[in-house]
């Protein structure tokens, strides 16, 4: 009898979505951090989610396998007056798509909310079960 697995499952979702929110915050914060060469410029970070089931259990919690960097090319801008510009006058902006990040943020926050709801309901029901017959 594993009455409290629901807390593990919803808890895993909360931590996974908060990792996602953290990467969004990092990407948005660095969206305008330009650099003088294409390799050292900030690259958008993306969490990779995976469903993990304990052996014998049908329910799967969610796990963040890792945070990968986006492979999209950095945006190249001609700004010879920029203090960080390279010898040819180019600066490189991060491959962060701000609109995409905002959408990601909304999706993560909605998922977080629904997991909190699940946890609250489970907690209420568990408390009621504990006070059965009183």
């Amino acid at each position: 009898m594993s009455s409290f697995r629901i807390f593990d499952i919803a808890g895993s979702a909360l931590s996974a979505q908060s990792v996602r929110l953290n990467t969004v915050a990092s990407n948005l914060a660095n969206a305008d951090a330009v650099s003088g060469d294409a390799d050292s410029v900030y690259k958008a970070r993306l969490p990779v989610f995976k469903a993990v089931a304990e052996p014998g259990a049908a329910e799967a919690s969610v796990q963040v396998l890792g945070v990968v960097e986006s492979q999209a090319p950095a945006a190249k801008r001609y700004e010879p007056g920029h203090p960080l510009a390279d010898t040819e006058g180019y600066v490189y902006a991060p491959n962060v798509n701000v609109v995409e990040e905002m959408v990601n943020m909304i999706s993560a926050s909605r998922s977080y909310q629904s997991s909190v709801e699940v946890m609250n309901t489970a907690k209420d029901l568990a408390l009621r079960t504990l006070t059965l017959g009183k």
């Binding site: 919803a10 979702a13 996602r20 799967a60 919690s61 997991s115 079960t129 059965l132 017959g133």
Partner: protein
């Protein structure tokens, strides 16, 4: 087992199955953004029938031995995920309500048994 069944009827088993359903739906919601994840649920009627049959045969059959079924995707997405958050939330609310109903019945049984025992 027989004594508790005479007292609590079907509700102890119903409670267990609804709890399993809630776990499964919580897993679906947790994996709403996981690529390739397929939403699953228990068929309550079928699982209850199998559990009741197992109990009647004296086997320690629980819902844990029952296999879940995949939900038919209403809006399948490109990454292979079939979780529809709205559907899952509705199903979770329903499971929670049914769990509460069973709790209510159990509570009533316990209270009336206490009344009978204490005579007050």
């Amino acid at each position: 087992m027989a004594a508790t069944d005479a007292l609590f009827g079907i509700h102890a088993q119903a409670l267990d199955i609804q709890r399993r359903r809630m776990e499964m739906i919580a897993a679906n919601l947790a994996n709403a953004d996981t690529p390739g994840f397929k939403a699953r649920d228990l068929d309550f009627r079928e699982v209850l029938a199998q559990t009741a049959q197992g109990v009647a045969q004296g086997a320690a059959s629980t819902a844990a031995t029952q296999s879940p079924k995949y939900r038919i995707a209403t809006q399948p997405s490109a990454d292979g995920n079939t979780v529809d958050v709205q559907t899952e939330q509705a199903q979770f609310a329903e499971a929670a309500l049914r769990y509460q109903a069973s709790l209510g019945f159990l509570d009533g049984r316990i209270k009336s048994m206490l009344t009978a025992l204490t005579g007050q």
